[in-house]
Symmetry: C2
Subunit: 473 residues, 2 copies
């Protein structure tokens, strides 16, 4: 890690903890040089890095200041109480509606977790994709290994080092998106009727997989900053024969938090104590605003208890359908489920992604997208602050492009969504992130779009919120 | 249908039924003109068509003769008796070995059901694939509809007319290969513990899906010419609560038969009578040597009882992972299983295949491959007749590129396969086509390869069979 990144991390940490307040002037370059014992060049690099990542803004001849937008952050969403009984998952129909609209019908899709695929940093990927049709060895047409292309597995294994994982290419299995990875993992570990503990709110796609696998879920209270409640979880594990804990600890969907390392360790220890498996979804992990990216729980796992899933759907493009799983002690069974589920994964997209990473295009692309998404977040929060009524609460995403907004309890998010669709805007209603109807007053939006589109979308939402009432009795 | 094709079909039909014997001289052009009341040009076209498809050979100044190779056809494989109890499926490990070898390691893969992907008629597909990286609308990067790309579904719906099916694009769901289609279908119709009736021998991949889905199977005696025994099946349905009948009636894998239409109707009527669903795998159907291609059972189904699956893995290329399912009355549930299994199907390959069909390249490609495979069959049967010991029996494939060979009962196909692998040849041992150890003396080979490779492979097999004994006590 370069010294300037370390310094930048210390400063951003202090901003997050409130040590430096929003709008406050930060230490001068000279002060940084003295207190960290570094050169002026290093101090300058640290501030440039912070600026690039949206933490600070320079004011000419005066110095660096904590970005003003930190100031307008709304209150955090409320943590919902624990659900008393395992429940079945519903809401399939709403999800079908969410997935049914395509970009071609002119709807601004703020509801789906889709990255910006217009970035010029994806050009080498498109080139690699078109190259697959030209390769004389026609690898794009052959069946691939069940576990996926070796070259791609090697690149993913290399990437995983950044999240603290030491996983060999031979321990990985490529899947048709993270959805297949999650689906296989759940069906490998659980049998119909089993109980799975999940975050609340939780990603609706994963919840539907749980439903399709015939398991019941316990929704565990989840803090918008520290993640799943270890305390509630322990009470639940004490009371119920939970088979699996499913979490998204890094750049959580929908709450955006990065679980602190200490809490990750506690979660793992708890799982050990009660001999429960952990399914860790790291699909947004590479989009953390802070570099280096956060560790996975998997990186702390010494007894093959954690199944780690990821994908390039959020970082590169979802249409590729390239995900992966590190199934730990379940490797053989997961491989079997992969074979019986889809045989193998599409070859052309694997070749293109492997080439994109190998040729050094992935990390610069990530850096660029992280910066864009972080800036978009600041902007989005500001615009929402201006356009939306008071009394809303918002998540404080630490990565990715997903924002969770909580309205007063009697707000009807489904009705709001339905009205918005008439104006060609789609959001995700909170109702699909739980099966106990606890987020019907929340919405999730994707701020990964172009700023002009986002601004227009937020304005239209704001106008609708002023002109119509979506509050019930 | 052009008149000459009708005439050719009448003649090939008579050859199959033994009306014209192998090696026998066929009616002269003049006789054809008279008896069918057609022009000389039409009669000539009919014979050219028959010659192209491997049924007849011209002898200069004499006329057309039934191809000699029809004469050396070995006896048909034996039909195995019915299994008395539902059983669990095994053999996963052998299948893993089969799937593990890749073309890159220099092994001649006679064991896998892979088409010849070197045909120049696939060039437009490769071009379409490389085009997906160049499209400015970047559709290749987007999530696709859960049910798949509309344009591709429309092309498949059009194709299905040839098999007698009137299915709308909106009734189809694109899948990650036929494997996902089968997997979803089985998990939609069956619950763990249910009983499924299957052909015997049956495709090992489908059997493993059944195992992964937790169902048990009843292996039904299957005739190498007429398919699954309706009589045995009725006895089974009388005795057991069978939920699903899974069949591959067209160009069966591994036996190669096309079930006669009458038998297809009987099967459907039986399913109705006992209210059992049918899962019809038509993956090789388009490769029937006879044109027009055979009807599916689905085409006779009036009450949404038949789930029809197909794929481009056998006709175009397996690496694309593009299959499809027409789930009939189970549409909603199958769509749900698709979403929770893999989310959606890879976009680039869908775009490429849709373009390949739409631009008129698929049907000429099929015609070409059918002709090549039929000629390969004649040649393969001849070479095997020369190189293999007497006493073997062989299937009489009516399409595709899969040949089933039965050795005397005490032959050990697994040991033969193991020895062959040392000589860089891989076959499929019959042991994986059943879970009741009834085909351990059989092998399945793929004759879709280049003739020079096939010849060499058959010679090496023949030498090994002469130099070593694979017969047990």
């Amino acid at each position: 890690m370069p010294q300037y990144v370390n310094i930048a991390n210390v400063i951003s940490d202090r901003i997050q903890k409130g040590f430096y307040r929003s709008g406050e002037k930060l230490p001068s370059m000279r002060e940084i040089c003295t207190s960290f014992n570094v050169s002026l060049g290093t101090a300058q690099n640290a501030y440039h890095f912070l600026e690039e990542n949206g933490w600070v803004i320079p004011i000419e001849r005066t110095g660096y200041f904590v970005r003003q937008s930190q100031l307008v952050k709304k209150h955090l969403p409320n943590v919902q109480p624990v659900v008393q009984e395992p429940i079945d998952i519903k809401n399939w129909h709403s999800i079908l509606e969410l997935a049914a609209s395509s970009p071609s019908d002119g709807v601004l899709q703020l509801g789906r977790g889709m990255p910006d695929i217009d970035s010029p940093s994806l050009k080498p990927l498109l080139k690699a994709l078109s190259q697959t049709g030209k390769n004389t060895d026609k690898r794009a047409l052959y069946y691939d290994d069940i576990s996926g292309m070796k070259k791609l597995r090697e690149q993913i294994a290399r990437m995983l080092i950044d999240s603290g994982c030491d996983i060999a290419a031979a321990e990985l299995i490529i899947t048709s998106g993270c959805q297949e990875a999650l689906s296989i993992a759940i069906r490998t570990v659980c049998e119909p009727g089993d109980i799975v503990a999940i975050e609340s709110p939780a990603f609706h796609g994963a919840m539907q997989i749980l439903q399709a696998s015939g398991v019941r879920v316990l929704e565990v209270p989840t803090d918008p900053i520290t993640g799943i409640s270890i305390e509630s979880l322990e009470m639940i594990l004490e009371q119920w024969p939970v088979k699996l804990i499913q979490v998204t600890p890094n750049c959580n969907n929908p709450l955006g938090f990065i679980m602190p390392e200490e809490r990750k360790k506690e979660l793992l220890n708890l799982a050990k104590k009660y001999n429960v498996m952990i399914l860790e979804d790291d699909i947004y992990g590479d989009l953390s605003y802070r570099y280096p990216r956060p560790l996975t729980i998997k990186s702390m796992d010494m007894d093959g208890r954690v199944l780690l899933c990821g994908s390039f759907s959020k970082t590169i493009a979802p249409g590729l359908r390239i995900g992966w799983i590190a199934p730990a002690r379940f490797f053989d069974r997961v491989l079997y489920m992969k074979y019986t589920g889809t045989g193998s994964t599409t070859s052309a997209a694997q070749i293109a992604v492997a080439g994109f990473i190998e040729d050094g295009h992935y990390l610069p692309h990530l850096r660029k997208m992280r910066t864009i998404y972080h800036r978009n977040l600041q902007q989005t929060v500001e615009w929402i602050g201006e356009a939306f009524p008071t009394g809303i609460r918002m998540s404080q995403p630490q990565g990715g492009y997903i924002l969770w907004i909580e309205f007063p309890k009697n707000f009807n998010a489904d009705a709001f969504n339905k009205h918005l669709l008439k104006r060609k805007i789609q959001i995700a209603s909170g109702s699909i992130f739980s099966s106990s109807e606890r987020y019907n007053h929340c919405i999730r939006i994707n701020f990964g779009h172009k700023l002009a589109l986002l601004k227009k979308g937020i304005q239209i939402m704001g106008e609708l919120l002023k002109s119509e009432s979506f509050y019930g009795s």
